[in-house]
Subunit: 233 residues, 2 copies
DNA sequence: CGGTGAATTGATCATCATCAAAGGGCGTGG
DNA sequence: CCACGCCCTTTGATGATGATCAATTCACCG
């Protein structure tokens, strides 16, 4: 059983948040909490899917192991996100692997329980669909980014996303190791390092995991301007 | 109302194919057939979603217009594919635009009808979910490809996919214009042209839209080998 | 025929990966 | 508590890959 804080956290996720309260309560009452240490696997690509997850604490990454050894990060989930919902009603293996980037706590909802709930409440379906669509939409935007933007642009976009709506000088923290960030952005760690160096010209300074953006709005404009050409003198 | 051939074609799609036959019949009875000429839009990014589609003939591309003018192709749908299912039960705008690449015929199922069907048959939900998951899965693989493979590898992968299981010399046809293919693969048309030139060394010759692969299995091996290093002498 | 847009080719530059080496932080064992 | 080692990160030098700009060829169509 979950405590109140954990319940609220789970309800922030698209899946548990879309459910009517009574369904959410009933499902979450049947959920175990998983405690993971950094690096621990949640599930492996190819395993039969058994569970829906929501992140309470820590960070979870989805990655794909290409046969050539390199593994690429598809997505990173923060507290208040759910994942692996789409497979709850399908008998298929996980198409990716999930593992903890930091020490993490997860809510684990067995597919069996979700399926049972479905019989009494079709709202469960709606929640799964809502969550799946959100993932789909994010992936579409990621594909677009990969096809149209350079590494510098993707990195700038990432730190701006961390900064949120800020318009004045901000310091944000990269919440995981840089080689993981590189794998998420689709570049090599060496390149990421050089990209940060290059962004110094645009008011971005990096010290360890701390990134300071001296002027977010200028950086934002740079992003849009750069697509057209270099940059007006 | 659809004729038998069109009905069968629609049933090949994940969405209409997952539905029990009676539901599929009932829904398709309420469907109009859209006739589009090459270039015609199906819907525009930002419009409120109103319809689920399935391709009967021709090809439909999903693309995103970035503000900088360049538009990137997210996916291309062949006859027997359905798309825009996920939004049927959500009041959101289309996140991408769809348009015909070739003259095309589409089945158009109004969301309103799908929602009504849902009341009598929750199976509709399952079909939407199945279709959405297939799209999700494809996008995951595309993201992986974009992050790990070079342009040459993506092009090689594409023509091999066209060739299917063939192991002997095959000629396949690129079903649309090359600048569209370039946008789909995330490279510029000029680069695509040069990539084809480069693939000649691996037994690929291009004449117009005809691509001949002299030895598919050799090309396949090249793909895997290349990830590790250049290529053994 | 002439025209229009796609496709190719060339030359050059920016971007990114690779290989190699050197710092730097952090934990374990002495 | 310090030293050592490990791994992440950075930096450098170089080569591969892809973009850009410009010019030309090609195919299709009025």
């Amino acid at each position: 059983m979950l405590n109140d804080a954990d319940y609220e956290r789970a309800r922030q996720s698209v899946f548990f948040g879309t459910l009517p309260e009574e369904n959410a309560r009933s499902l979450l009452a049947n959920c175990a909490v998983l405690n993971l240490k950094a690096g621990d696997p949640v599930f492996q690509q190819g395993e039969p899917a058994t569970t829906i997850y929501a992140v309470l604490d820590g960070l979870i990454k989805l990655s794909i192991h290409s046969r050539s050894g390199t593994d690429t990060v598809v997505e990173v989930f923060h507290p208040g996100s759910s994942f692996a919902e789409a497979l709850a009603f399908r008998d298929e293996p996980y198409p990716v692997s999930a593992s903890a980037i930091l020490d993490a706590r997860l809510v684990a909802l067995p597919n069996r329980v979700a399926r049972a709930e479905l019989l009494s409440s079709p709202e469960t379906f709606r929640a799964v669909l809502a969550a799946t669509y959100v993932h789909l939409h994010k992936l579409i935007r990621q594909v677009e980014q990969l096809k149209t933007n350079t590494g510098v642009q993707r990195v700038a976009h990432f730190v701006l996303a961390l900064a949120g709506e800020q318009t004045s000088t901000t310091t944000v923290e990269i919440p995981y190791e840089k080689h993981t960030l590189a794998a998420l952005l689709g570049i090599k760690p060496e390149t990421l390092s050089r990209v940060f160096r290059r962004l110094e010209a645009h008011g971005v300074t990096v010290q360890g995991s701390q990134v300071t953006i001296s002027n977010p709005s200028v950086l934002r404009k740079m992003l849009e301007g750069e697509q057209i050409h270099g940059q007006p003198a």
